[in-house]
Amino acid sequence: MTNDRKKGSGAGEQASATPSSLNHPHDISGGAGDQDAERMKQLLRSALPPLGDQQEPDRDLWPAMLRRFDEQNTPRASRVPWFDWALAGGLVAFAAIAPRAIPVILYYL
């Protein structure tokens, strides 16, 4: 199905129109702006060829969907932000270096 592809706009044509010459979509006057827009569409189709209707995945995606479900059902502990882990690691390291400070830290908690 096509939208508004028009004939007679050769892909290799050179034009000196400025960007502003593209007509507004509601402007039905036609003219050079329409041709510019059509050339841009043709250039775009050439740069990004249409893929059509017949594209299919290489494999069944249901296993990937199940993995997605599993990810969501994993315990919350495995999804603790990295900053919290870093903070906990820092505290453990500090306690290992200065064990006498542990009662002081606990007192102020």
Binding site: A11, L22, A47, P49, A64
Partner: protein, 181 residues
Amino acid sequence: MRDDESGVLSKFRQGDADAFEALFRTHQRSVFGWVLRIVRDPDAAEDVTVEAFWRMHLAHARFDPARGFEPWARRIATHAAVDWLRKQKPESGMAPELWERVPAVAGSDSAITTEIREKTARAFSRLPAKLRVAALLAVVEERPHREVAEALGISVTAVKLRVFRALRLLRKDLSEQGIKP
């Protein structure tokens, strides 16, 4: 709509896992094909398809069986694809190596050089995601404006406006690179 289809849709709305699996298996190809048109990378299209179905699963209670599954699924998939495009760095989504992995149905115009094609594709990848999607579907894939509007959840006029803006910005970008289409 057949009774069994209607039953599956009703069960899906109630959160039935088997109904969801049945709908997934029925519609995964069409959703993948639609997403691939937008993201233009088969691996990414698979991920986005799964993400889209995950969103459908989460939104099952809001699904209206009377309106059919396909349009609803397409709209959710489109939004998932737009979100994916937004996360990509400019120019990363349209790398030439990706074009070769995706088989095209039509040949390219030989009058337009490879360099211009590449510059056009890169300039296109720098456009805002919502403009890119409208242009990809309406111009590149030549889908009817009404279909694009339904998929994006906007009016037909808004689709035309987005296409217009996309082409204008693309032309401006190319002009700045010395390319006059």
